[in-house]
């Protein structure tokens, strides 16, 4: 039974719900209203279930404190809800912007590729035409990475193994010398890298594959090409063929052609080194050794712990 004389439970409960509902509604937070109703019902339930030893004044103070607490809670919940909503909006905007940037990048790469196509139309020399084609292939390679990031929705990192497989599938058939059947296989361990690293590694792989397809199988009816990618504290990317091998006068210390220069320069860019040698029993073997950033970071942490403070 409700004892109005000792606690005026219903009136105070209504008084509790009404301001909280008002504050919640004005802040657009229906959470607060829900909480106030639940708390009021619980308060009434407790009051109705037992005797009321509390005098009216104490009950009023208790309910006033409860009211203030729920008001504060309501405002806090509202703040959290609003902040989460704002964060979500901001995140959605960022994703949209990144998508737009990737879209613009690919569109611009198409324009660059189109310009090269138009310029290549002016030249008659097959070697010069090939140079234009190789430039366009490099552009398409970078665009594919952007596409991979864009479609994954990750925007920051990519599995380079998947990219390497796709690249080999496109490059090898397109650049296999006429009259030669080249079989290729890609044995790649998953390797998550950032966009910069992926583009650099992709360009290195592109140059090694093109070198191999240009020189290894000249005068041959068939050949084999293997591409390997190994993850670990030190990462490795290896391309080997069973073709003609390195020329007798090949000196790895000399500059060589543009392809070789790019392989060396880009390897340095990823803090790695390139090793080009004759394969066993034949052919050419090119390996790029480059550090794993997470292993490097772990080593640095370990070192810093060893240094006494």
């Amino acid at each position: 039974m409700i004892d109005f004389s000792s606690g005026s439970d219903v009136i105070l409960t209504v008084l509790l719900v009404f301001p909280v509902a008002l504050v919640s509604w004005s802040n657009g937070a229906w959470w607060g209203l829900g909480l106030a109703i639940v708390a009021s019902v619980a308060h009434l339930g407790i009051d109705l279930s037992g005797p009321h030893p509390t005098p009216f004044a104490s009950a009023a103070i208790n309910d006033g404190v409860a009211l203030a607490t729920f008001c504060i809670l309501s405002v806090l919940i509202d703040l959290v809800v609003r902040q989460r909503a704002e964060l979500q909006v901001s995140l959605n905007q960022k994703n949209l912007l990144l998508k737009e940037v990737h879209h613009r990048v690919k569109n611009n790469l198409q324009v660059v590729s189109s310009l090269l196509s138009l310029e290549s139309g002016k030249v008659k020399n097959p070697e010069a035409k090939m140079v234009f084609k190789e430039c366009r292939d490099r552009i398409h390679l970078m665009a594919r990475l952007h596409q991979r990031l864009y479609s994954n929705g990750e925007f920051a990192s990519v599995d380079f193994a998947e990219h390497l497989r796709e690249m080999a599938q496109t490059l090898v058939p397109a650049h296999t010398p006429a009259g030669c059947a080249v079989r290729f296989k890609v044995e790649a361990e998953p390797m998550i890298v950032d966009l910069d690293m992926a583009i650099t590694l992709g360009l290195i792989a592109n140059e090694i594959l093109l070198n191999s397809l240009k020189h290894a199988f000249a005068g041959k009816e068939s050949g084999n090409l293997t591409i390997e990618l190994k993850d670990g504290a030190e990462r490795e990317m290896t391309v080997f063929d069973d073709g003609n091998g390195l020329p007798a006068d090949f000196d790895p210390k000399k500059r060589g052609g543009l392809g070789m220069e790019l392989i060396r320069g880009l390897s340095r860019q990823v803090h790695g080194k390139a090793k080009i040698e004759n394969g066993q029993p034949g052919g050419t073997r090119t390996t790029i050794y480059f550090p794993n950033p997470s292993a490097l970071a772990a080593q640095e942490t370990h070192k810093s712990k060893l240094i006494p403070a």
């Binding site: 613009r104 690919k106 790469l109 590729s113 189109s114 196509s117 138009l118 398409h140 479609s151």
Partner: protein
Amino acid sequence: MKTARILIIEDEAITVAALRRELAEMGHEVVGDAASAREAVRAAEATKPDLVLMDITLADEYDGIVAATAIRGNLGLPVVFLTAHGDDATMERAILAGPFGYLLKPFTTQELKAAIEVALHKHGSEVESRGGQG
């Protein structure tokens, strides 16, 4: 390889020029080009090409998907999308227009050639199965 009369819908002039050159090298005839959805529909009605190469982002308020839907619906012409939009939402919208191909920019000459051949072949088979009404 079958040669065809092709209409290019693309708002980037350099890309149009490169496409014209590459298509001519493949032996195709470019019957025209347009940069907006409205012009695209008008050009398709005027030239009745064998194939329409359609960009998705165009110069007016309608996009290439709207133009492709109109061209497919009114004229029954095959459309291949050439676009930098590789997201699922755009592709899902584009599929509803009934395209004969979807080529992501930047594309190689080989990819373009293959997309055109597949589209022409597919459309040819479709026309044959309908009893030669194209």
